[in-house]
Symmetry: C2
Subunit: 500 residues, 2 copies
């Protein structure tokens, strides 16, 4: 059969008035039987927050753009899940907090509002036989926020978080590998560092694992200390130094606020404005460069462009075929930034009944499956949602179970932690294991084992000819977060505009 | 245009008399404009030693087979380089030693002979200002072989190698993750373990790095101690326990012998016997499974089979598109076994003139670019070849240089180490940086950072429906070596035959 030559550009590429009209050219690459073809200024791979931000800002600068998205939806690692009554609970990233200025600006620009995450009352902490109920609004052991007042834990929490903050402050968030001690810090795992610095490492490590599971979907053995310190350094902005507390806290921290309508709404609004420039169900298979341009081949599409922004996780960038092949450092980093293993579990109840007991809904525990849980109810509290993170080894254990087994394990744990059997009978329950998501294959972010940042860090962002890299892992500030994704898209836009 | 439907099966699939005639079916998958299509019992992805071994043994069992190889040659990580006079020097894997029974059997079966690696005379050891010339045929500090008699180094070499051997002996080479202390050993890097156990870690680490660079193309920070111990455990066979010395030694070790005609000749002979069943220039793009069979789509080919053996490094298996997508543990391990960074450099001289000075040609040094060098002359010594490994950080540094800069650095180092300016003027010089090789992207083997073996080790070999995994990284014994590749191909064959 003959490939049908259809133009999707007229109704597709997003252009401002000033942009040159895009030329329609015949399809040349193999792949789909009837590929649609177009010529634009910039092709963008991936319609998560990074790719959508890049596309939006490039269009605002008068460039013609096509976004190729593998999924049948936009939003990447954000995903709204309908829970009835017009409400949603997020299955992916959802929070926004202080210094996350760029996601805030984007949400504001597209008219998505925020509201405070519910944080009134006491948190629960369970560590073996120890169960504490405590307020996170005071100051405990020099720490504000979610630090549980476990006397066996607090000295190390103070010691380790101060050391971490002090070390993080020495790093350039955009290039932690340039620090003089980078190689030394990159030669130990977070577990090793903890054993070296904690007063009572045996006690603190399981609690730390509950944090790394929620934060990175991994165990403390999986990532390097340089990466941990760089991640803390990244939890700020150009005028505010990153701190460990800001990463972990609700009040004044990264979990402070949520989006009305769900976090995915930001992407949906941006995509709606871009219109038919966003092509869904279009996984990119190959990127070819010449001295005159770049050709991006996706299922059903062939896009010729002057530049391409690849806005997907580093590990997935390695699954595209490049011609010419990538330089060694860039290829080798695609082999070295694996996604974490993270699942989100959410039980929906007719009301957030725990609030009446002066409970925030938050708990931190060394138990399983959930290590950290929180109140994820809609802003009007017309439903009650208790969400939890199941990460690292727990993701591997519980991800392998049947949905029914997993549901029972989660609800039983909720009832046990809160000593309240009402948690056993939700009106709805869902979970979402990001390792099973075809176009993410893990979550929440790409991880850096010992050696990787030192050896290949510069390749994270360095353009390869006409290819520019975005995605939250490439951000200076708030890497691993929605804010980092937006920042990376803005940075890629600056690169592209300077080159066009 | 219409896809031309050609059959390549008649002249292609390798079959014994007893095999069912393969059915020719029309091409169905997109990809090439004129895909050739065939139906066979087993498709094999990759014509390295693992894939060729699987294909050979499956054909011997009466099965019809097609091998799809991305390159224009067979042999994978073995590669003969012509140096004139009909001689070759290997740019990739080349040695064979005791307990490597399966590569020995395969080479014997295809009539490729071995000869002793040159090992007469003294080795050189250079560590900063210390330069020692020593015989490796004696017993030094309880160690035979290549241990340099550096009094600052030897106590640690004895201590660490005994600890490593003792630990390795506790592991099942086929499943090191089952050991009770596996998680603990997998939570530290080799650098951390060395700092914890060495008397003089600051002194021993640079020497250890010279070894890890040659052995794995990495730094001691990059891999876990569990992986190191498992690698040692793997350096034996079912009746002989693996030891660290056997990994490192020439005499009685993994570098004892070489192949007449070069190591790639083994693959070439196997491929020749398989004939047109071996399809070159056919990178596999997708593998689709149904309840009735599997379809493998490569550039130019569509192969329908009952089973497929994927015999490429774990990282590269992640670059194939699977339908249905891989289970989470299998996908996540493809993100977590990066290739090392290894280059081989070889200077060719009219004669192996160093032999007359009672030198083996071997040196071990903390200097750069080369960490370990050896005499790689042809068996008749009609030319002299001095080969060296440039790995890890040195690969990154010297791989980024121009070829002329790199050549000068290598030759200058050779002349300096041997105190002999004749090394400055070779008749020929070549180097081969495996990180630049499109269908390998690193070498010599896939590496395991902390956590990986513990968390995802079982997924290395576990079949996924009709997909079976081979490649040296999946072997119980001699993983990372040619012998492991052959063993993995044999194991995959057993799996497939049991399933067919």
């Amino acid at each position: 059969m003959s490939p049908t030559r259809r133009s999707f550009l007229g109704a597709g590429a997003a252009m401002m008035g000033g942009a040159a009209a895009a030329a329609v050219t015949p399809a040349t690459a193999a792949g789909a039987s009837t590929p649609l073809t177009a010529t634009v200024d910039v092709a963008v791979v991936g319609a998560g927050l990074a790719g959508l931000t890049a596309a939006r800002s490039l269009v605002a600068a008068g460039k013609s753009v096509i976004i190729l998205e593998a999924r049948n939806r936009v939003g990447g690692r954000t995903l709204n899940h309908a829970i009835g009554g017009g409400h949603v609970a997020e299955a992916g990233g959802e929070f926004i907090g202080p210094t996350q200025d760029r996601i805030a600006a984007l949400a504001n620009a597209v008219g998505v509002n925020t509201f405070d995450a519910y944080d009134t009352g006491n948190n629960i902490y369970v560590n073996g036989a120890i169960r504490l109920s405590y307020s996170d609004s005071g100051l405990v052991g020099g720490l504000t926020g979610t630090a549980p007042p476990d006397p066996l834990l607090l000295p190390d929490l103070v010691l380790l978080s101060q050391q971490l903050d002090s070390d993080a402050a020495k790093l350039d968030p955009a290039a932690p590998w340039t620090y003089a001690q980078a190689s030394a810090w990159d030669s130990v795992t977070v577990e090793t560092w903890t054993r070296q610095h904690a007063l009572n490492a045996t006690y603190v490590l399981p609690v730390l694992a509950a944090a790394t599971r929620a934060l990175w979907g991994c165990e403390p053995r999986d990532v390097s200390y340089l990466y941990a310190a760089a991640y803390v350094a990244s939890a700020g902005n150009a005028t505010t130094t990153g701190t460990f507390e800001r990463l972990l806290n609700v009040r004044n921290g990264a979990q402070q606020s949520r989006f009305v309508g769900g976090s995915q709404l930001v992407s949906q609004r941006v995509a709606a404005a871009l219109g038919a420039a966003v092509k869904l169900n279009a996984p990119v298979r190959s990127i070819s460069q010449t001295s005159s341009g770049v050709t991006v081949v996706a299922d059903g599409y062939v896009v010729n462009a002057r530049r391409v922004v690849v806005a997907i996780p580093p590990a997935l960038t390695g699954r595209i075929a490049y011609d010419p092949i990538l330089p060694a450092d860039r290829d080798l980093i695609t082999q070295r930034v694996p996604m974490g293993a993270l699942m989100k579990v959410e039980a929906v109840y007719p009301t957030p009944f725990w609030r009446a007991n002066n409970l925030t809904g938050q708990f931190l525990t060394t138990g399983e499956p959930v290590g950290y849980a929180f109140d994820n109810s809609p802003p009007d509290a017309s439903l009650g949602v208790l969400a939890g993170f199941v990460g690292g080894d727990a993701d591997r254990t519980y991800g392998a179970m049947t949905p029914a087994q997993r549901r029972e394990a989660v609800l039983t744990q909720y009832a046990s932690v809160f000593k309240d059997d009402r948690f056993l009978s939700p009106s709805d329950y869902f979970d979402f294991n990001w390792v099973d998501e075809p176009w993410t294959r893990g979550g929440p972010t790409g991880l850096f084992a010992p050696g990787t940042l030192t050896e290949y860090g510069p390749a994270l962002r360095a353009p390869v000819g006409r290819i520019h890299w975005a995605g939250t892992e490439t951000s200076d500030y708030w890497q691993g977060y929605m804010d980092g994704a937006v920042r990376s898209g803005e940075r890629a836009t600056h690169e592209v505009l300077a080159a066009l």
